[in-house]
Symmetry: C2
């Protein structure tokens, strides 16, 4: 006898028998299933682990991935990637949920003695995920594709220490003029302009020659444009998104293409 | 007005107002809180991301960690480590849960437009977690501390390819006799004994000298002992747990101790 009830129904403090039916119903129909209760967890595969009894959350997803979460830490204590199979059974006063990958011979066994909650969920999620690059990613993208700054730009070094901090990228332009590049992933403020100017002041003392300063950011914040112009510094519009695309393309390019093989 | 009801109560398809009260009640009392519903998620910090609307699970833990899970993949799409702070508010037909780390300037904003489930849970979990080493870990432990095999043992190389596979560790004993070490993390079977013998047969042909074979495992499976003796191979009892301890101690030892600084 399988309960057919609406998939979004939750059971609070069900018996093991009720929980068993509901979990089996959910996993066999590729639903998202949440089981909260007191359990022990055994893992065996490349390594092995034992988690002594306590109250945890088991999250099972339609793609066959599964996670066991303790009420602390952001990482799950045990998990399986997509493609895992589930078997549920009642044994000796326990509800056993077995999560296994046959080919890899990896098995997690969760044995519940008490259950606080079973939720079977029918989640629809097609929303796109957009990840925008960090300043470190932007630096990386410029090193891979220096023309993001301008034609003929060649990076020399990164993170060069100068008194107030580290220069993001130090390079030369097509006429061999030393060029300091300061990167911001948000609108560059007056503070960013002053920071760039400080680096140039220190370097000028050391080098005694003309130095260009380029502030790289998706946009300039209010007031930054005027200061930039008065200090004869330059602005290069570059978005984290654009940099993310460069890095993505890089990952997709076989390494052999770089070595002309 | 704060609902005081038992902490293990769940709300199914609550209004945003009801959900708001319950989530605030739970987070302010350091409970584990699960919110399931249609939401969008914005992250801003070292990088930034936007997740367009869809149905997801938000898991909030008493230690201030939080995860957003889509109904696929074992990794959360967004997360914050322990120590994060939570602010909940109703705005323009949305329930906003703000998860932030002030010092690091990292913010996740989850905006729910519809809520399927809110569960506030009082989870008690003091169960110990034991992780036992993999064969790779055991190999590593022996390289770090070769006396786990025997006094005077010196590893030469690992993963040496021989016809049927790769030798776990090839070394020499205190009398400079070439020694093949085969590692098993479970009871070593007859198949493991035969595998070790094959490696030795191949090496003998190449080297033309006496070779020792040592099978390393927590125990011998039934029938393996007799076969081992008849082939004049040796058994060294070593458990994954013991190896895990060696590696743990290694991690805790400052590197300077190794370089005599």
């Amino acid at each position: 006898m399988e309960p057919e009830g609406p998939p979004n129904n939750t059971l609070e403090s069900p018996t093991l028998e009720e929980a068993y039916r509901r979990v089996r119903w959910g996993t066999s129909r590729y639903k998202t299933v949440i089981v909260v209760g007191r359990c022990r967890v055994d893992y065996d595969g490349r390594a092995s682990s034992k988690l002594e009894p306590g109250e945890r959350i088991l999250l099972i997803k339609p793609d066959g991935s599964a996670l066991v979460h303790r009420p602390r830490d952001y990482a799950p204590v045990n998990w399986q990637p997509p493609g895992s199979l589930f078997r549920t059974k009642l044994e000796k006063g326990r509800l056993l949920v077995r999560i296994f990958r046959r080919k890899e011979n990896e098995v997690i066994e969760v044995r519940f003695s008490d259950i606080a909650l079973v939720a079977v969920l029918d989640l629809r999620d097609t929303g796109a995920f957009h990840l925008y690059a960090s300043e470190k990613d932007m630096q990386q993208a410029i090193l891979v594709e220096p023309s993001l700054i301008e034609k003929g730009f060649r990076p020399i070094t990164t993170e060069r220490p100068v008194e107030p901090g580290f220069i993001d990228i130090l390079g030369v332009d097509s006429e061999n003029t030393l060029t300091v590049v300061e990167i911001k992933r948000n609108a560059a403020t007056r503070e960013a302009v002053l920071q760039l100017q400080k680096y140039i002041d220190v370097l000028k003392t050391e080098e005694g020659r003309k130095i260009r300063g380029i502030l790289v950011a998706p946009e300039l914040a209010r007031g930054a444009q005027k200061l930039l112009a008065s200090l004869r510094l330059e602005f290069k519009q570059l978005s984290p998104q654009r940099c993310a695309q460069v890095l993505k393309r890089l990952k997709e390019t076989p390494l052999t293409d770089f070595f002309g093989m």
